[in-house]
């Protein structure tokens, strides 16, 4: 645990000196802010008169998922790829730390940075709570934040795995983006073209966005939590195996 923490802390600090992190932070806060203002304004002027329900936490969490889909690859692309490129991988692989500790430490650093960004967006539900009466549903809000945290954990773990494979940052970025798009959109495509229920069930189960939307409604199901957690564990496992395999090449 000590090693993981040491590595995560170094990674977390590193984000604050890299321009990518500030760009990502700006994109997140700006995008969510614009969506938020538009949604609230729309609800205030036309939405309510046409009988729609008051805006809830999904106007923050929904766009946040898209933003993280596009920015997570930028946060993970250098995690292991950069160590490989700079030659510091040799330092870490000859230090008394286990390969999985290295992987988990790196991932945790990226996660802590993402959690910091997510924490900034807490301002929006606070504002929203003031705007709507009788205030927003606290339970749904908690479920929404649980959903985005689980999602980011998964995205970052998959990105860490891709970063372990490539020593080129751009390759790691696009590889991760591709992989995330598969789990977020593409994986449910088979369900549109077949009626066989076992196949539909299988791909529905693997669809990350379905899980996410379930949570967003405030209905917390066990499998909706377990699936992103197992995908996270899988990503970190693959990353550890890749690091280990590099030793044997």
């Amino acid at each position: 645990m000590h090693n993981i923490w040491t590595l995560a802390r170094r990674e977390y600090r590193h984000y604050f000196i890299s321009p990518i992190a500030y760009v990502v932070a700006l994109v997140i806060v700006l995008t969510i802010g614009i969506f938020f203002v538009i949604n609230v304004y729309y609800a205030g002027t036309q939405g309510l008169s046409s009988g729609a329900s008051a805006p809830d936490i999904s106007i923050v969490i929904g766009p946040l998922s898209t933003v993280f889909l596009l920015t997570s690859p930028a946060l993970t692309m250098r995690l292991l790829a950069d160590e490989q490129r700079m030659g510091t991988m040799e330092l870490l692989l000859t230090a008394p730390i286990r390969d999985w500790e290295l992987v988990v430490g790196k991932w945790l650093g990226a996660l802590l940075f993402s959690l910091t960004l997510i924490a900034i967006t807490l301002i929006f539900p606070i504002v929203l709570n003031q705007l709507v009466t009788p205030g927003i549903d606290q339970g749904v809000m908690m479920a929404g934040y649980l959903a985005i945290i689980l999602l980011v954990m998964t995205f970052l773990a998959l990105g860490t795995a891709v970063s372990a494979i490539f020593s080129n940052q751009f390759a790691a970025f696009f590889g991760t983006l591709m992989l995330l798009l598969v789990f977020w959109y593409l994986i449910r495509l088979p369900t549109y073209i077949t009626q066989v229920s076992s196949i539909v069930n299988f791909f529905t189960y693997l669809d990350l966005s379905g899980r996410f939307n379930n949570l967003l409604t405030g209905q917390v199901g066990l499998s909706d939590i377990l699936y992103p957690l197992s995908l996270t564990a899988f990503g970190l496992f693959v990353a550890s195996v890749v690091v280990e395999m590099r030793r044997w090449q």
Partner: protein, 308 residues
């Protein structure tokens, strides 16, 4: 203490090192000497737990490098060929990070001490990215020395340093080698000669010679050689010269000079000179031919013949 037996490493179909067996004891500085691509870095990487060997075993500080890799890594200080540094960290932060990974409590004092040892105290708070090549090398060395490891493994430790820095770094290595085990690789002969108690010459993945620099030189040369040049045909003199006691291996070189050997400590050159003059020839040159470690090295690494 380092003990390797039958170390072999294949990269795909290419064999990088083959059947290396060697030992380095405590209080000894041992050098791997060889041209680029000879397998030095591969060997060091196996010993530091970076990669496992394809065949063979190695123990470092009493632990197996594959089975007890973590224990080995705890006891080894390693400076890789490409100095592994984070340019965005200060020298102090970097060493603090390494101290944390090595679970050294209250490491501030130790870091100051180590920076002092490598002569970098004044740049402790400078960003590594802004340091010169020589300074970076020293920070890399500080990282390897930080936890006072039982075994120090250095891959080309003085590469890219200016002469004054080279002297400093060599002093540190020699000092460390008094109590610990130091294994270093170099392609600089004078470095191996000055620093190492024992040198292993490695070429194409095999150890072709192993001894103290001094013995290596003596054993390989075996005898002193001299060169004789006279006015006239030197061949005519050979029958008379071969009668001199102690003279060996007379041979006429293509340039017309005569080369011969004699046992060390039994200088026959005055006798040779007298013989030449008495035979009525004019002596032009009579000089010793040295065989430096450089020549031995070239000799050994050119065709890979074993000196054993």
């Amino acid at each position: 203490m380092i003990r390797a037996e039958g170390l072999t490493k294949d990269y795909g179909s290419r064999r990088a090192i083959e059947n290396l067996t060697f030992e380095a004891r405590q209080g000894e500085v041992v050098g791997f000497l060889g041209p680029n691509g000879a397998g030095k870095t591969t060997t060091l990487r196996i010993l530091t737990g970076y990669m496992p060997p394809s065949f063979g075993t190695a123990q470092v500080a009493g632990y197996d490098v594959v089975d007890d890799s973590l224990e080995v890594r705890r006891r080894v200080g390693y400076l890789p060929e490409t100095v592994p540094l984070y340019p965005d960290m200060t020298a102090f932060e970097y060493l603090k990070f390494m101290a944390d990974l090595r679970h050294i409590p209250d490491s501030d004092e130790l870091i100051d001490e180590t920076l002092e040892m490598v002569g970098m105290s004044e740049r402790a708070d400078g960003y590594i990215g802004k340091l010169s090549k020589g300074m970076r090398q020293r920070i890399g060395l500080a990282q390897a020395l930080l936890h006072k490891p039982e075994v120090l493994i250095l891959d080309e430790p003085t590469i890219g340093l200016d002469p004054a820095q080279v002297v400093e770094i060599r002093n540190i290595i020699r000092e460390t080698g008094k109590e610990r085990t130091v294994l270093l690789s170099t392609h600089i002969l004078s470095e191996a000669q000055q620093l190492c108690d024992r040198v292993m010459i490695i070429n194409k993945g095999r150890i072709v010679a192993e001894d103290s620099p001094k013995n290596l030189e003596a054993r390989l040369v075996g005898a002193e050689r001299a060169l004789l040049r006279i006015k006239g045909e030197v061949e005519d003199l050979v029958p008379q010269l071969s009668k001199i006691k102690g003279i060996q291996e007379l041979k006429v070189r293509p340039d017309g000079a005569l080369e011969f050997q004699f046992s060390p400590g039994m200088d026959i050159r005055p006798t040779v000179a007298k013989t030449v003059v008495n035979a009525g020839y004019e002596l032009l040159e009579l000089s010793p031919v040295g065989m430096s470690l450089e020549e031995i090295f070239l000799e050994l690494t050119r065709d890979g013949t074993s000196a054993h």
